[in-house]
Structure formats: C-alpha cells, structure tokens
C-alpha cells in the first residue's frame, strides 16, 4: 500500500467520525480561569517575597486583580432552559425552542410589513419562510420583536395532522419568553442585501462586531453539507457581550495549494541539533519542475497546484563548495492540498 493511498484512506476514515462544533465559549472561559489561577499563583508568590522585604504585599495583590476586572460586570447567565430545549431569540429576548429545530442564518425572510424575520420551523415539516410558495401556512407563530428586527418562531402542522400539537407548542414557547441580564445578548443575524437568502460571511462578521462580539472566521470546503454561512454559537443563542463567535463560510477550493518548511543540516559524528542553512529547494511532480531559493534562515515556501511532489534540495557547503544538486531530501513525497499548507523539512544528512 502506498503512502499516498494510506493518507487518502485515513482522511476518508476520519471524515466519517462525527465531531461537534468547537465549544469555543467554554474553552475561552476555562482557559481564562486557568490563566488567572496561574497569574494568582505568580502574584501570590511575589507577594510573599515583597511582604518579607518591604511589608507591602497586600496592595500588590489587589492591584493585580483590578487589571483584569471588566468595567461593567455582566449579569447572571440565563437560567437553564426546560429539558430538551435551548434558548434562542434576538437582542435580549429569548424563548425556549426544541433542541432539534434547525436555525440557519440562511433562512432569512423579508415580510410585507418591512420587518425582517428569522423563521424557525419544526424539523422535517417545512423549510422556508412563510409565505413561501409550497410551504404550509403557519399554524401558530411566536414573534419576538426588537428594535433591529423580529425573531419569529413558526410552528407548522404536519400534513394531515391535527393542530392541537402546534397550539400547545406555541403556548409553551410563548410562556418561556425570558429577558437576558445586562451584558448578555442573542447572537445577531446580518441583514441580507436581497432580503431573502443567506447573508454573506462579511455581513455576518460586521453584524457580530457591531453587537460587541469578537469574530473568528473559518473557511470550510464547498462540498461539506450545510448552509453557506453559519455561526458557532448559532444565530439567536445567548452569549456574553465580548464573547467570540466563529463564522464558518463555505468556499470553493482555490486552484493552488502551498507547502513550507526549513532546509536543515542534520546528524554528523557529534549528532548536533538540526541547523538551518541556505540553498535551493527543488520541487518535482505532476508535470511541474520548480526551484525555490532558501535564504540563510533556512525557511522556504512554495505555492502551486495541489498534488504530490518529490522535494529535494542542494545546499552550498554540503558535500561540496557549491552543494551537490538534490543531495538533500524530504523524508517523504509531499501531498500538497488546498485545505492547509503542507509542512516539509528538507534534510541534508551529515555523515
């Protein structure tokens, strides 16, 4: 079995392993806590020293804590939603909606009254915005109106079913209406230029920043299923002001890919640490034959079509004054993909 074949199979195997979205909020919260503990530890140690030397340690401790304190303390988080539901809404108003309901930024509607609506529909019944042609008329609607728009929970009846279920659900959603504490808000949705259809990643990022949130952007390949633009946490989810929201955007893979790495002299009688050297890297494969200059720091990079390449190099001083051509090599053929730059070190083995 070739190494390329193994890489391809392993990636296919991995792509089928389900992975949830990154718990970025929890990671940042726990990370900051961990960092604070470390800092407090360092501060505490400093204080002991200072107390011994000058007897003024207490003032230093309180000063250290004030540096990290936010100017306005956010209120408590929303209470846990009823079992099987999650909070979703707009601005500082949220309702508890069933967990299974989809909430994609792409579902963006402009109604006749001039307000924009996000529509959430019960999974598997109707996808679309009322009054889209072909969708069922909504049986019950819960609308949360805020200055910047309306967040609409639309409960549709399944074809042929009785609407009692929809009415009961609408009442439950309505009864759960909750106002978020100061310092909390629902992840906003950017207005779409056309009024209907997905907003762009740029627009979504701008809307998030305007709402006082931090933005992290990630590109996903266009062949992954899902909406054109989505966020984590999802649009409508309550978050603390200043939190980071990831905006995922599906993009068509670019035609070119890249690799980068170092040119290193390694080994030798005394087995010294790998040392970066200047030289010329030679990339060959898939009808391409290119040379890349490597400067004194040993770093080099190459951009070209995605594919598999042999990477060799020559380095002045290695094997001869001029460097024997292609006498240094990477320890494997390089598969260059658009998804991430390949990391390739090229080694000149000293004997």
């Amino acid at each position: 079995m070739t190494e390329d074949r193994m890489t391809e199979l392993l990636e296919r195997t991995a792509s089928r392993i389900p992975a949830s979205d990154p718990p970025l909020g929890a990671l940042l919260r726990d990370g900051r806590r961990g960092l604070r503990r470390r800092r407090v530890g360092v501060v505490a140690a400093s204080v002991v020293v200072v107390v011994v030397v000058a007897g003024v340690g207490t003032a230093l401790i309180s000063g250290g804590h004030r540096d990290n304190a936010p100017s306005v303390e956010p209120g408590p988080p929303p209470p846990p939603p009823p079992a099987g539901t999650r909070w979703a809404g707009i601005g500082r108003t949220v309702v508890a909606v069933p967990r299974g309901w989809s909430m994609w930024p792409g579902l963006y509607c402009s109604s006749n009254d001039g307000h924009d609506h996000v529509t959430i529909v019960e999974a598997g019944v109707t996808v679309g915005c009322y009054p889209n042609e072909g969708s069922l008329p909504p049986t019950e609607v819960v609308a949360l109106e805020e200055r910047d728009g309306t967040f609409q929970v639309q409960v549709d009846a399944s074809p042929g079913s009785h609407s009692t279920h929809a009415v009961a659900l609408q009442r439950r959603v309505e009864a759960s209406r909750t106002t978020l504490s100061t310092g909390w808000l629902a992840v906003p949705l950017a207005a779409s230029a056309e009024g209907v259809g997905a907003s762009t990643a740029d627009a979504e990022a701008s809307a998030l920043r305007a709402a006082g949130l931090r933005v992290s952007r990630v590109q996903e390949p266009a062949w992954d299923p899902g909406p054109q633009v989505r966020t984590v946490p999802a649009v409508g989810t309550p978050v603390k002001e200043g939190s980071t929201v990831i905006v995922y955007e599906r993009v068509t893979p670019p035609a070119s890919a890249s690799m980068a790495g170092r040119l290193l002299w390694v080994g030798g009688p005394s087995a010294v640490d790998p040392a970066p050297h200047a030289g010329t890297v030679h990339v060959v494969g898939d009808g391409l034959d290119e040379y890349v200059a490597v400067h004194r720091g040993g770093r080099w990079s190459f951009q070209g079509p995605a594919g598999t390449y042999a990477v060799t190099a020559s380095s002045p001083g290695y094997l001869s004054a001029a460097g024997v051509p292609d006498s240094c090599r990477a320890d494997h053929r390089v598969r260059m993909r658009w998804t991430r730059p390949a990391n390739v070190d090229v080694y000149c083995q000293l004997r």
């Binding site: 193994m6 990370g31 990391n343």
Partner: protein, 166 residues
C-alpha cells in the same frame, strides 16, 4: 491579534482534526472530544509557546499525546477502547468499504504503531517530527511505520488495497 482572537481562530480550525485524531488514536468519540478540549485548554494557557513553536501542529500533537498517555495511566485498570466506533454513512451498502476496513485494521495495530500511522498519515507530521513528539529515535519511527504499513497491507479487510488504488 490578541490571545483570545488568535486562539479562537486556531481552535476553530483545528477542533475537528483534534477530535478525529483522538478517535483514530483509540478514544471513543466522547473521550476524544474531552481530549481535544483539554488539549486546547492547555494551548490557551501556554499560548505564547504555541505561537512561538517552530511547528505548531507538532507542538500541539505532543500536548495531545501527553494528555492521552496521562489519561490512560490514570485509568490503567479501566476499559481501553481499541476499536473505532461504527462510522456513520448515508448508504448502508457502502459501510464495508476501504475506509471502514482501514478503521478496523488500525484498531488491531499495537498502540505505538497506530500512533505513528495517525501522526504521519493523518496529522501529516514528518518522521523527524513524530520522533520529537513521541520522544523516540527517528529510526524507531521509521521501523514502526514500516511494520504498521506491512501489517495493514496484510490485514484481511484491506486485501483489495494491496493491489493499489482501484
């Protein structure tokens, strides 16, 4: 870019890779997510080191493997999942294809060989980087990979792959 923004970008981009690497290394999916979360937490606290690392992916892979080793030492008498979970596919007829067969064959490898295969062919680390991450000699990595590839090629479930790509 401040720490939170830089970290968030990195975490968002690498989360799935870390979770999937955890599963390929023998964790069940829930444990793999825990492991990925712990790895990223460690990265957040040591972010300046992560940013300065000559090879960030290799540095983070080392953190992940160290945490995995620690977790396994702690539950030495507990259950050790060695098989990958059933991989979801849309069409049941395609369940037993090459990738599924590889998943099962991978589970039959000794831990060190399996780790070398995942680091080399999934995380795309070089043999030298794997040697640094696993703290073994480069020659050991080479022999582990060679043995693993031989074992995988001989695995009955991967018989078709011995002939090369279809």
């Amino acid at each position: 870019m401040d720490r939170d923004a830089a970290f968030s970008e990195y975490a968002a981009a690498r989360w799935r890779v870390l979770v999937r690497a955890g599963v390929l290394l023998g964790c069940d999916p829930a444990a793999a997510e825990d492991l990925a979360q712990l790895t990223l937490l460690r990265c957040y606290v040591k972010w300046p080191h992560v940013e300065r690392a000559a090879d960030r992916h290799a540095y983070v892979a080392r953190i992940q493997l160290n945490l995995l080793r620690t977790a396994r030492r702690r539950r030495w008498s507990g259950e050790r999942p060695t098989e990958l979970p059933d991989l979801p596919t849309a069409d049941p007829a395609t369940r037993l294809d090459d990738a599924d067969a590889l998943a099962r064959a991978l589970a039959s490898l000794p831990a060190a060989q399996r780790q070398a295969v995942v680091l080399r062919f999934y995380l795309q680390l070089s043999e030298r980087q794997i040697a640094e991450v696993a703290r073994v000699a480069p020659g050991t990595v080479k022999s582990r990979l060679s043995r693993a590839l031989t074992a995988l090629a001989a695995h009955p479930g991967l018989a078709a792959l011995r002939e090369g790509p279809p």
